[in-house]
Symmetry: C2
Subunit: 359 residues, 2 copies
């Protein structure tokens, strides 16, 4: 009855034991399978608690069998306190009983699933034969986006730009053992974007930014907007959204609140990605149109990741048990948990009182 716990090192072990490319491929297959059965899910926009320093969100979703939620924060100045900007963990539970089956770290997992979701969209929306990508914002997400596009889509040249030159250097250092992927640091966003097939933005600043402006766009580009994911946090100039032939989103009710389309009227036309994956709506229709994936991150991507991690953990014998839920001899006798517990001495000096019955 205990819950299996996976920590960050367990996720790293799963990726190493599987191999990065096969792991990403398996995550992509799992996510596509879940997006194709979109109507089966009980969906809602995530709940968000905003403060001056950032946001804390809960992202629940369920099908008839499994319930999942993720806890995730976004605090752009966390690095000043030696903490990641985004930290996350998630739970997979049984719908039939509510029993939590898996509690997993999702800081590393979110980076992996976000990159895979970007590829899932780009495979339908970018020009066939795309080889070059501009990557604007090379924080915690950078390497994951670069490797997912390289390993799953054949992107072999990435042009990097970040306000922080050290972020570029870190990414190049981390990926130097991957010589088939050509990395080029650029002096500006415009330089990085020029001639790119795909433009990925993954900046962290919680402001109404205009990282990509309409004059940077070239015919046939696919824009993968990852960092505009919160009210007041955008990356694309509204002209970019107006120039696009079509704008694709994960889940419109959430993206209208959080995505780059928060700048647009409530009836701005968008296409939910699952409809493209099911063949119910067109993706890219010609070589010259501009496409935008206004990605904010949706609970279904976490559901897929947790489902896969659970399978991998079982296959590899990873994870530790945690007694999150009490085991009761008589499930109606919860009070037994209180009175049955012996008076063990606590570590700090306390004067134990008589047991509950005598209180």
């Amino acid at each position: 009855m205990s819950t299996t716990v996976l920590r960050t090192q367990d996720i790293a072990r799963i990726v190493h034991a599987t191999g990065l490319r096969p792991f990403l491929e398996r995550l992509l297959a799992t996510m596509e399978a879940d997006f194709r059965r979109w109507p089966e899910f009980d969906k809602s926009p995530r709940s968000a608690a905003h403060s001056a320093s950032g946001v804390i969100e809960l992202m629940p979703i369920a099908d008839a069998t499994l319930y999942a939620f993720k806890y995730v924060n976004g605090h752009p100045l966390n690095h000043l306190r030696q903490l990641p900007t985004v930290m996350a963990f998630g739970v997979l539970a049984e719908v039939a009983t509510g029993l939590p089956l898996l509690l997993s770290e999702m800081t590393l997992t979110t980076a992996l699933r976000t990159a895979v979701a970007s590829v899932m969209a780009a495979r339908r929306l970018a020009r066939p034969g795309s080889r070059t990508m501009a990557l604007i914002g090379n924080g915690a997400q950078g390497e994951f986006q670069a490797l997912a596009f390289h390993l799953l889509m054949g992107i072999d040249e990435i042009r990097l730009y970040d306000l922080d030159a050290e972020a570029n250097a870190k990414l190049i250092r981390n990926l130097r053992a991957c010589p088939a992927l050509k990395l080029r640091a650029c002096a500006s966003t415009a330089e990085a974007v020029r001639g790119a097939d795909i433009v990925t933005t993954a900046t962290a600043d919680k402001t109404l930014a205009t990282i990509i402006t309409p004059e940077m766009l070239e015919p046939g580009m696919h824009v993968n907007g990852v960092g505009g994911d919160c009210p007041g946090k955008t990356e694309l100039h509204r002209g970019v959204l107006e120039r696009a032939a079509r704008v694709f989103v994960e889940y419109a009710p959430q993206t209208r609140i959080e995505g780059d389309i928060q700048q647009m009227p409530a009836d701005f036309p968008v296409t939910e990605l699952w409809r493209v994956l099911r063949g119910e709506a067109p993706g890219r229709s010609d070589e010259r149109e501009i496409t935008v994936f206004d990605s904010v991150g949706f609970a279904l991507e976490d559901f897929s990741a947790l489902r896969l991690l659970r399978d991998c953990a079982l296959e590899l014998g990873l994870g530790e048990p945690l007694a999150l839920v009490p085991e009761l001899d008589d499930p109606k006798n919860l009070f037994g948990q209180l009175s049955a517990e012996p008076l063990r001495p606590a570590k700090a000096p306390v004067t134990p009182r008589p047991s509950v019955q005598a209180a």
Copy 2:
């Protein structure tokens, strides 16, 4: 940077080390202090995923310093699978960074906090000098309601009724070491309610039930409705709500969806309890009026409980650390977690692949 984990036995240890009465008093004081600063909280109705067998909910809340959420299910037939009807766990996190500070079991904690919330309301709404309570539905909540009303409000006679005679017997067995509390098993709800100062309903059935009907009401009664807490799950006949001088709720936007008042029009007048605690609205105004607390359980009660548990765990040296969030030398270098992890052999037979760099 690690998160402190409290399991059910840790909560039991905290209660034993503190003593049940002092613990309940401290929880009551913490909860009242939090309810009195109600406007400081970022509140929302909980999210609920309903299925044929039950419901799974997330209950977030935050002030300027702390964020809390609880995961909780309600599955009335769980006892057939040796599981509690209600299982829960919760997290307390730092608003400034999003760091999760505490992960605690809340199955036992929910029973404790629900009973304390009932007393917090009844101290303002029941007739002064109340001595007898009817307790309808003696499942997992029963003993906690009985003891909280006995220890914190001086109730010394409780009349029990449950469809399941074994539930009555269990409660009487569990509380036999508390001779100052007179327990009387009754043959019907009507018999239990007759002459009671306070009527508490805590049934689990997920149906539109009418446990309490208007003809059972007597002048001056306070009705503490605990079990009607979900769309389609009520306990009070609508005539009971109509007969009440005033109906009190925790948080009206949530109670209108989930409480017994879901039967009433959207403008049915209610008073939020925090206004009574702050002296901004009247509680009971005379000896003969009928009052109703339509309790569904609100996130602030869990926030208070988690805040207290964290203090108690620190004082008593309880809790185990869990690395839910990765510790990064460079917080922008999340990818380092993946490439730095050595290829440790997993328990199951797998063929390790080369490291990420070589993938």
